[in-house]
């Protein structure tokens, strides 16, 4: 199973955790990021787990997301380019000043 049987590339409701998308997810009953991660970690309460599995049974796109993320998690570590972490840290530090709360940056 390599996920190639699926044509979709991700649940249209599950978009990177911004506020609007979170609201849309609730409306569409697709699990939000926390719930999805909790299901993958097997840390949800039984009723919540049932609710996710009910949804997964009916939503092939979320099911594909589930397969793909599970496979991602099962993969071994990849060597990360040495300069990347420094580059990310520099970006955070210089992005509109120090990384303090209360700033709004559009990406």
């Amino acid at each position: 199973m390599d996920g190639a049987k699926f044509n979709s590339i991700g649940c249209s409701d599950r978009i990177s955790g911004n506020g609007a998308a979170e609201k849309k997810k609730e409306a569409g009953n697709c699990p939000d990021t926390n719930t999805f991660a909790g299901y993958l970690d097997n840390k949800l309460a039984p009723t919540e787990r049932d609710s996710v599995e009910n949804h997964l049974a009916d939503c092939p796109v979320c099911r594909n997301d589930f397969y793909e993320i599970r496979m991602l998690m099962d993969q071994g570590a990849k060597e990360t380019p040495e300069a990347l972490a420094d580059s990310v840290k520099n970006n955070l530090q210089t992005h509109d000043g120090a990384p303090t709360p209360g700033r709004k940056i559009k990406i």
Binding site: I9, T33, C59, L92
Partner: protein
């Protein structure tokens, strides 16, 4: 102190605007983020550009950081490990990125079709009446009959033993037979996806 506890403290410090905590968070999770992005781009794009991978890595951490850390604050430590949560977030950002690329180069009708295709593989989906079988039994039937997984794969995805999948399958079929008045199933229902069953 476990890694989870350490992460909880670091996340709190990041939200408080501690530069050192941000540096530690990046060092701890850059590998997880990088792996998720590389694997997703490799899967969906013919050509993976290291520059794109770097951009999405940068955006993932920025996403946690901007708007008063609203996304980072949304992480619920009671529900999942941080590494799992950030894998989901990174993968979502990579998917958004791919979607944008594909939308640029694809006729709109194809995009609409792909959004509605989901996991349907051309076969008609089996119909399962509500409340006859448990959510997990229903999910197992979907994974096996709609998605074509075998018992081994289904067990691995759900982190349970193969025997559990066989049992869930057997009980689901038995309940469905009863529901449709086909008898309780005189013979044991064998799972068509079970290649290891004797």
């Amino acid at each position: 102190m476990t890694k989870n506890n350490v992460t909880e403290e670091i996340v709190k410090d990041c939200i408080d605007g501690n530069d050192v905590a941000w540096a530690i968070l990046v060092d701890m999770y850059i590998g997880v983020v990088y792996k998720a992005i590389v694997l997703v781009l490799n899967k969906y794009l013919d050509h993976t550009d290291e520059h794109d991978v770097n951009d999405i890595c940068q955006n993932t951490f920025l996403k946690l950081f901007i708007n008063n850390c609203s996304v980072l604050k949304s992480y619920d430590q009671n529900k999942s490990k941080f590494s799992t949560w950030i894998t989901v977030v990174s993968r979502n950002l990579a998917i958004d990125y791919i979607r944008k690329i594909k939308e640029k180069n694809t006729p709109i009708s194809d995009i609409v079709d792909s959004l509605h295709m989901g996991g349907v593989t051309g076969r008609e989906k089996i119909s399962v009446p509500e409340d006859v079988i448990s959510p997990r039994q229903h999910l197992v039937l979907r994974m096996i009959y709609d998605d074509g997984l075998d018992v081994e794969e289904t067990a691995r995805f759900l982190s349970v033993k193969r025997q559990t999948i066989r049992s869930l399958h057997h009980r689901a079929i038995k309940k469905l037979r009863e529901h449709y008045g086909l008898g309780a199933g005189q013979e044991k229902s064998s799972c068509p996806a079970d290649t290891t069953q004797s």
